[in-house]
Amino acid sequence: MGTQNSIEINSLIPVPLKEKLLQRSSDIWNRQEVFYSNEWIKIKAPSGTGKTTLTHILYKLRFDYEGSVLWSNKNIKDISDKELAQARQQKISIIFQDLRLFQNLTARENIELNRVLQEPFYENRVIDEMATRLGIAHILEQRAGLCSYGEQQRIAIIRALVQPFDFLLMDEPFSHLDKENITIAAALITEECRKRNAGFILTDLDDDDHFPYTRKLNL
């Protein structure tokens, strides 16, 4: 990797939460911070401190904030639709808290879609391998809408891992999983990030040691 990819925030503060957030101290909000793609970052965020808001702002899903977000030194408000699609296909992958699967597609189709959106990073048999590891091989042909939250969460994890990325954004990625499944899923994510030399930003409510984090921040 020639140049180190980074996500930088400057005096970032979401407008709807502005007054509330300015009253408390934070490692993120209204500060200058750079996350590099060789870092595994945990952001601990109590309820209502803008955890999901932060993830969405970093992924350029919402714009109601003050300050700025830079992807590899470029303000994301200035990047075009084309560049945005390019970045989401190649640089930044995401696991949403609310999962965001296509309810009418099967589990496999949901994963496959993100695999073929760009030049595939993996062959499609990798989907089966990952699904087997996470214990959802049997529901691959089932409509996502009919799967349990736990299953949907694992589908969302695999979907995020079949594409190339330098950064993986995870918003409470294990909220619907039991301890055993969390361990398996975290191991898979660790492998995949190492394989790509990628960093991640994980937000969650509590402390945990699912990953060997390089930095821990409080929102």
Binding site: Y59, D81, A85, N104, V116
Partner: protein, 396 residues
Amino acid sequence: MLDILLRKLIKTASGRTRFVMAVMGLSVALLLILAAVQVQANYNELLNGKTNQDSTANFLVVNKEVNNKTLNATTLSDDELKKLQQQPFIDAVGNISPGRFKASIESYTQNFPFKTDIAFESVPNAFIDVNNEDWKWDENSSFIPMIIPNMFLDIYNFQFSVSQGYPQITPAALKTVSFKVNMAAPNGSVQSYTGRIVGFSDRISSVLVPQSFMDWANQHYATQQTSKPSRVVIRTKDPGNPALVSYLKQNGLTADADKTRFSKYRQIVNAVVNVSWITGAVMLVFALLIFTLFIQLTIASCKEEIALLITLGAAPKQLQGFLMKRFFPSNIAITLLSLIVISILQFLLYGILQKQNIYVSAYLSYYTFAVAGIVLLALWVLNYTTINKYIKVNNK
């Protein structure tokens, strides 16, 4: 693979009936427009095509209307002739020179006696449709060639011979008959020449002699000096041209009504073509509107799917490409289908008209293809801009 998945996500089923309506509207509109173009092309071909050139149709004998006002004053002035020549729909004007001398013809033989006073006219050779080596005259010629209207022979064969008990006569037989032509000089002396009929024509209803004879005879036997013509023959590409007919009418001129009556048919064809055009164009506008709405509706009904696709990193280009593939092929199909239908109709028309000795092409004209291409291009632009616009709207 991506396309298969997108097809599952972006369903068009919600607007099935609208889609059928849009397709039907578009088809009918295209059919009307292409038919209008093809009919116009056929009509032009009929007017200008070599195979349809009718020897009499393009030549009109024009003279002033004879009424109380113009009685004995039907000569055409130089001005009037010049104006006639300048009209865009008139290719050439030939003066019909009248003989200004008294003449009569009579038979040499008592088997078939006749004698009648007669007057000759002549026109430049370019306006005559009888190509005959006998059709020439100089002072050493042994006879004076003449061209008479077919109608004269018909009058003889079907009226005169029947009523008088004379035998009927064929055109070929008549051409072999020589007769005496008596010409009276101003001083009263009469000189006789031999005349013979060398051809028949429908173009000019007059007894025609070669221009050279007419000039010579007028010089030697003329009793009056005016040489202004009262009739001219004009050549025109389209005797049915409404502009020609209205010009003649405005200037108090008349022409062979039979030929200009074509003008009425022409106006009807024009009206039909125009109605077809306008109906087609209006329908096209509505069909395009429905089609646009259909695209909008499809995109709107898949709003969430499209939003999530873009969230996951689908490029607007990918979605546009997919949607174009979804909508545009139906347009190509409609256009091709319309062309095929029009082709079949044209082929049938060709067969029907051929039986009546009217020749139109069996195939579609280039114009029809060109118009189909233009409409298709317009459809492409419309598809593209609509998709572009609504994906953008969706994206924000």
